[in-house]
């Protein structure tokens, strides 16, 4: 498949089941909401080393937040509910409770609940106050007011936890590092507009894609040598001679459709740059179907855009 001169490989991205949650962070202004959200989603690029994968989903207007202040929605994903609960509580305590003017609210409703302020309230040392308020649907929700040095930290008791999908991805193969990164940036800008997904790596882009296993016994993942341009002559390479750089975009999301849509708009944004930009191919990472049950087939996703 060719789109605007860019080849789309006949392959698929392989994704796996995760547990996900959404938290709404508000603050006195957007600047401080970002301070809180950036801290909370820091060191959360991959479950391999960070426990969770997290990112900022989007900015929220004042009429979209529970307390009428500027805010951000954060998505957080983990391989299991236990890890997600533990990581969320830790990050709430160290990143949101500590951030001036910040408050935290549930961003998703479900029967499965996960603690936000339920245990954090004990920081109040007995001075914390619980309040039960009705939301717009007449459902009562519990909030905690914890006295802190800048005033009060307001936090909803819990948020919802849902089944989610992690590991959607595609690879950008280009003739130079600059061309690959420029294309990746264009893709990320387009993908940010899709709800329910995040791209958890720095700037949304990962350069160190991995394969399963290693020559070293202690390593269960190592560099994806088939896509490393400097190893073209010494490994079973996937790269043609003109490819000099490969970037990967990884997507976690709350459902299959939004991940597929984010991949579509991202790949389309790259293809819109054209082959003259230096991008020659789009591929995807998979493990032969052994890793996860969700397969994002590039040709199906991009079917309508094929030329």
């Amino acid at each position: 498949m060719l789109i605007n001169g860019v080849k789309i490989d006949d392959t698929f991205a392989e994704a796996f089941n995760m547990r996900g949650t959404r938290v709404i962070i508000t603050a006195q202004n957007v600047k401080w909401a970002y301070h809180a959200a950036n801290a909370m989603t820091g060191f959360a690029t991959s479950v391999i080393g960070c426990g969770v994968e997290a990112g900022i989903e989007r900015e929220l207007n004042t009429d979209e937040t529970p307390d009428g202040r500027p805010g951000l929605s954060i998505l957080m994903f983990a391989m299991g509910s236990k890890v997600l609960m533990q990581q969320l509580e830790t990050r709430m305590g160290q990143c949101i409770l500590t951030c001036p003017t910040a408050a935290a609210f549930a961003g998703i409703e479900s029967e499965d609940r996960i603690n936000l302020g339920k245990n954090l309230r004990f920081f109040g040392d007995g001075y914390q106050t619980s309040k039960l308020f009705f939301n717009a649907n007449g459902v009562d929700k519990r909030y905690w007011r914890i006295p802190v040095m800048d005033g009060e930290f307001l936090c909803e008791e819990s948020t919802g936890m849902v089944r989610a999908i992690g590991g959607g991805n595609f690879l950008i193969l280009a003739t130079s590092q600059v061309a690959a990164l420029t294309a990746a940036e264009a893709a990320i800008e387009a993908m940010k507009l899709i709800p329910n997904v995040i791209m958890p790596f720095p700037g949304g882009v990962v350069r160190s894609g991995s394969k399963v296993g290693s020559k070293y016994k202690t390593m269960f993942a190592s560099t994806n040598d088939a896509f490393c341009p400097t190893l073209k002559g010494v490994t079973n390479t996937e790269l043609s001679p003109e490819i000099e750089s490969v970037m990967e975009i990884v997507i976690d999301g709350l459902n299959f459709e939004d991940i597929a849509e984010s991949m579509r708009v991202g790949i389309q944004a790259i293809c819109d740059l054209g082959a003259a930009s230096g991008v020659k191919r789009i591929s995807a990472g998979n493990y032969g179907g052994k890793l996860g049950p969700h397969h994002f087939k590039l040709h199906e996703i991009m079917g309508k855009q094929a030329s």
């Binding site: 508000t26 529970p66 307390d67 009428g68 202040r69 408050a103 007995g126 001075y127 106050t129 619980s130 309040k131 039960l132 308020f133 009705f134 939301n135 717009a136 007449g138 909030y143 007011r145 005033g151 009060e152 307001l154």
Partner: protein
Amino acid sequence: MNALTFTLKKPLQFSLNCQLLNPTHLADKSPSDIASMLLNYGNSQCRVDDIFDISGNDAQNIFFKNSSDKLDYLGANMASGNIVIEGDAGAYLAYNLKKGEIHCLGNSLAYAACNMVNGLLTINGNTGDFLGGASAGLRKGMRGGTVVVKGNAGDRAGDQMRRGLILIEGNAGDYCASRMIAGTIGVSGKIGEYACFNMKRGTLLLTTRPRLHATIQDCGCHTLPFLNLMFKSFAQFKTKFSSIQSMRVQRFVGDAACAGNGEILLILTDE
């Protein structure tokens, strides 16, 4: 189906216990069953149809017409449906209300919303003492739900209140929020002496500066974002409180006499 309507035939000399006349209790009763039910009237009993003209058949929607303050325990122990009282109600209105709505278009006597668990009670007129309080011998009053009073409330509104919301658009008497355990009380008018006496926790929201006793401590003026949430949650009840915009309050904490951590939030409009 028409709303089941009880119209009082003539003024009553004694108090009538109406706790059986609620949607939950009348759900499966035929008109003849309802007419023959016995109610406690003074120190005797009388049939329902001796006191009321009965019409309609929808027991989930009950109207009391021509009602008076001799009708006690209206809506008591109710767990479903709606009651509208076109006139006054006696004592113990919405006693132990578990679910559903009760709308009193007139005044009520003492102990309205006593032991209330959930649901909604609105009183368009005034109400007596111990609004949302506990019945004699109990240590906890209202445990949930919402009470809206358009007029004034008597003394000890919210006495031993454990949870829930009381909004009083008029004035409240002495000892407002006394012995309060938790929950929220809002008073749009003035309140009497000794507000929050022996208060343990909970919030008393005021718009006019009260005279406070010595064991209520001034904690200064603050901007509290949670108030935005609270006022939003009030919006559905269409009271004066829905129009409050200010998040600036003066906070008082007490009652220190019982190591209480309750609060009075005095809304400040000059941000």
